[in-house]
Amino acid sequence: MKKAGILGILAGILVFLILLVLSLVLDAPLDANKTFIKAKQKESPIVIGYTPVKCKHLNEISLIKKFIKKNNFKAIWKEVSLHEGLDLLSDKKLHIFSGCFQSGRSENYYRNIIFSRPYYKKYVLAVMPGENRFITHLEKFLKKEMSNHPKGQL
C-alpha cells in the first residue's frame, strides 16, 4: 500500500513535470481553437463586432485597429446591436466585441460573456472564450498602448 502510494506520488509529479515542460516549450498559453496561429498564418481572419455606441473617453475601434495592424491580421468588421453581438460571441462567431463594456457592471449583466482585463479605467473588451494566447496578446497590447496614452485619448 505504501509502495503504491509512493509510486502514485512519483507518477503524479512526473506527469506534472511533463506538462510543465511542454507548456514552457510551447510558450503557453495556447488557444483552444488556434485563433492566434491561424490569424498569424492568414488562414482565418479575426472577426470583430462593434456597436454604433461610442465610448465617452476613448476610441475602442481605433485601439483594436492598431492591434490588428501590429499583428498583421486579416480582419472582418461587423456592426451589430448589443444583443446580436452577445449572441455571436456566445456562438463563438466573434473574436472581439467592442461595446464600451465596463468591468464590474458589464460582468454582472452578462454572466456568460468573457471580458479582457480592464485596459483603461474600468473599460474592457468582450472576447471569445478559451482563446487564451489570442487574449493574452490582446491584453498585453492594450496595456502597452494605454501606458502611452494615460488619459485615454488615442
Binding site: 506520488i9 503524479g12 509529479i13 506527469v15 506534472f16 506538462l19 510543465l20 511542454l22 507548456s23 510551447l26 503557453a28 498559453p29 495556447l30 488557444d31 483552444a32 488556434k34 468573457i114 479582457s116 482585463r117 472576447v127 472564450p129 478559451g130 482563446e131 487564451n132 487574449i135 493574452t136 491584453e139 498585453k140 496595456k143
Partner: protein
C-alpha cells in the same frame, strides 16, 4: 463523571498544548491559501473547486479548537454527561456541508464539461510583473501542496496520543491536499496547452474527492451520535467490550455479564450488566474493585456504570449485545 482535569495525563496535556499551536499555524496557512487562491483563480473551474475545498479544509481544525474550549467546562446539572459531543455535532454539520458542496461543485463541473465551456485565463499583473495568470496559479498551487504535507504529518502523532478523531481527520485531509493541488495544476496546465476540457475534468476529480470525504465523515459522525461500539482512529472496532467482559467473568462473584460501551468525543462510557452467583453477598468493595479494574484497561474509559441483574432480566432485556 470525572472532572476534565483527570481526562488527560501530563504528557497528553503537553501534547494538546503543542497541537493547539500547530492548529493555529495551520489555520493561518489555510487563510493565506484561501486569499491567494481567490486573487488568482480567474475563470478556471478547477481553481474555483480547489478554492472551496481549501475553505472547507479549515473546518476540522476549527472544530478541534472549539472542542478544546469546551473540554474545560465541567458537567452541569442540565448536562450531566459533559460537553464532549459538541465535537461530534460540529463534525456532523461540517461533513454534511462538505458533502453538499461537493455535490454542487460536481454538478457545476459536469455541466461545464457537457456545455463545452472553454475556460479563459488572461494576463495578470502582480508585484509589477505582467504574466499569464496560469503561471501565478501554478505558483500558488505549489504553496498549496507542500506545507499541508508537513502540517498533516505534525498532527498525526498527537491525534493518536489524544485519540482525537477530528484531529486525525484533519491530519489525513492535510496530507491529501497535495493531490488536490496537483489535480488543479493539471487543469491549469491543460488550459495552457489548449486542452480546455482538462480544467473541468480536474474539477470533477477534486469534487469526487470532496464527495467521498463528505460521505465518509458524515457516516462516521452519524454512527458516533448513534452510540455504536467504539472504533479506533483508523475506523476499526476495538476489543474493549471483550476485555471488559473477560475481566468481569473472572471475578469469583460473577456468574454472567454483558457489557456495552459508547464514545463521547475522545472518551468511552461503559455500561456493565452483571448476574451475581447464588452465594453472592452484597459488599460495596466488590463493586468498587470491579469498576476500578475496568477503568484500568484503557485511559479512554472514563466512567463505568455497573448494574446487578437477575439471570432472567439479563436474558430477556439485554440479549442483543
Amino acid at each position: 463523571m470525572k472532572s476534565p482535569d483527570l481526562e488527560f495525563s501530563k504528557k497528553q496535556k503537553q501534547c494538546l498544548k503543542y497541537v493547539t499551536k500547530i492548529q493555529y499555524i495551520s489555520l493561518a496557512y489555510t487563510a493565506s491559501m484561501v486569499i491567494l487562491m481567490y486573487l488568482v483563480m480567474g475563470n478556471s473551474q478547477a481553481m474555483k473547486t480547489s478554492w472551496v475545498e481549501d475553505m472547507l479544509s479549515a473546518i476540522p481544525g476549527l472544530t478541534f479548537l472549539t472542542v478544546c474550549k469546551f473540554k474545560d467546562i465541567s458537567p452541569t446539572k442540565r448536562f450531566p454527561y459533559g460537553f464532549h459531543r459538541i465535537g461530534s455535532l460540529g463534525f456532523l454539520l461540517s461533513s454534511v456541508t462538505l458533502l453538499g458542496l461537493g455535490l454542487y461543485l460536481f454538478v457545476s463541473a459536469v455541466s461545464k464539461l457537457i456545455s463545452q465551456e472553454h475556460p479563459t485565463i488572461g494576463m495578470m499583473t502582480l508585484f509589477g510583473i505582467d504574466l499569464w495568470q496560469g503561471w501565478w496559479m501554478l505558483m500558488v498551487l505549489v504553496w498549496g501542496a507542500v506545507p499541508p504535507l508537513i502540517l498533516g504529518y505534525l498532527k498525526l502523532k498527537p491525534a493518536q496520543i489524544l485519540h482525537d478523531k477530528i484531529l486525525f481527520t484533519d491530519s489525513k485531509m492535510n496530507k491529501a491536499d497535495w493531490m488536490t493541488s496537483l489535480a488543479t495544476a493539471f487543469g491549469v496546465l491543460g488550459v495552457g496547452l489548449g486542452l480546455w476540457w482538462m480544467d473541468a475534468v480536474a474539477a470533477i476529480f477534486i469534487t469526487l474527492d470532496i464527495i467521498y470525504d463528505g460521505f465518509k465523515y458524515s457516516r462516521d459522525a452519524c454512527t458516533d451520535l448513534m452510540n455504536r461500539s467504539p472504533k479506533n482512529l483508523e475506523g476499526k472496532y476495538i476489543d474493549l467490550p471483550e476485555k471488559c467482559h473477560d475481566i468481569l467473568k473472572k471475578l469469583p462473584w460473577v456468574k454472567t455479564a454483558r457489557v456495552r460501551m459508547y464514545e463521547l468525543g475522545h472518551i468511552i462510557y461503559v455500561e456493565a450488566f452483571v448476574v451475581p452467583t447464588e452465594e453472592f453477598v452484597y459488599k460495596q468493595e466488590l463493586i468498587s474493585k470491579a469498576r476500578k479494574e475496568i477503568l484500568k484497561i484503557d485511559w479512554k474509559i472514563h466512567d463505568v456504570s455497573l448494574t446487578l441483574l437477575s439471570e432472567k432480566e439479563l436474558g430477556s432485556e439485554f440479549s442483543y449485545f
